[in-house]
């Protein structure tokens, strides 16, 4: 059972546009929600993360929006650049039990000139 559902599967955005990727979770025990960026042939790299005590977190052009009641969170990439073209994964974990991450299925983002 997929506990973290991610959409869309792929996304094409024009340079300078806003990229939006959405995730929904089921397990109410989740309390840590990171986003990872992965380039071909590389391991995932942490981009930004949020905890449910805040509704939004911004780091540069990247913003996480979090809706605890809806059990949803999203990644917004402002002023998208060709260098942002990568696969993005949302994830979630619960405190204790090894803080095991449950990942979404990934979104392949392409930013076109």
């Amino acid at each position: 059972q997929q506990q973290v559902k991610q959409s869309p599967q792929s996304l094409i955005v024009q340079k300078g546009g806003i990229s939006i990727i959405n995730c929904a979770y089921e397990n109410t025990a989740f309390d840590y929600f990171p986003w990872y960026q992965q380039f071909p042939g590389k391991g995932p790299a942490l981009l930004i993360a949020i905890r449910p005590d805040v509704s939004e977190k911004k780091e540069g052009r990247f913003t996480i929006s979090f809706n605890k009641s809806a059990k949803q969170f999203s990644l917004h990439i402002m002023d998208s650049q060709p260098g942002d073209s990568a696969t993005y994964f949302c994830a979630a974990s619960a405190a204790g039990g090894g803080n095991k991450l449950t990942f979404g299925t990934g979104t392949q983002l392409k930013v076109e000139l």
């Binding site: 391991g43 995932p44 090894g98 803080n99 991450l101 990942f103 979404g104 299925t105």
Partner: protein
Amino acid sequence: DAGITQSPRHKVTETGTPVTLRCHQTENHRYMYWYRQDPGHGLRLIHYSYGVKDTDKGEVSDGYSVSRSKTEDFLLTLESATSSQTSVYFCAIRADPQETQYFGPGTRLLVL
């Protein structure tokens, strides 16, 4: 790369043969993880370790075993490889006391 190396980086093997993948870290982190990445599934946890000789199962542990005899090394073994274990395998460490996990470069395994 958080001081994580994986070996080998690429491997081709035949069905039924044993395979061991190695994850090595240089920063003495307590928690280490093994994930596999497959199209349409994202990354799925196989096993993790919370200390020397302390390990536990993840979501997709069947057909895999792990060992951790030293803090710096976490080994993943496929006792008898099957074609369904063709995948990219990633090791990760957790940087205590944060919950952030940092990933290694991955091992691409093809089971023929």
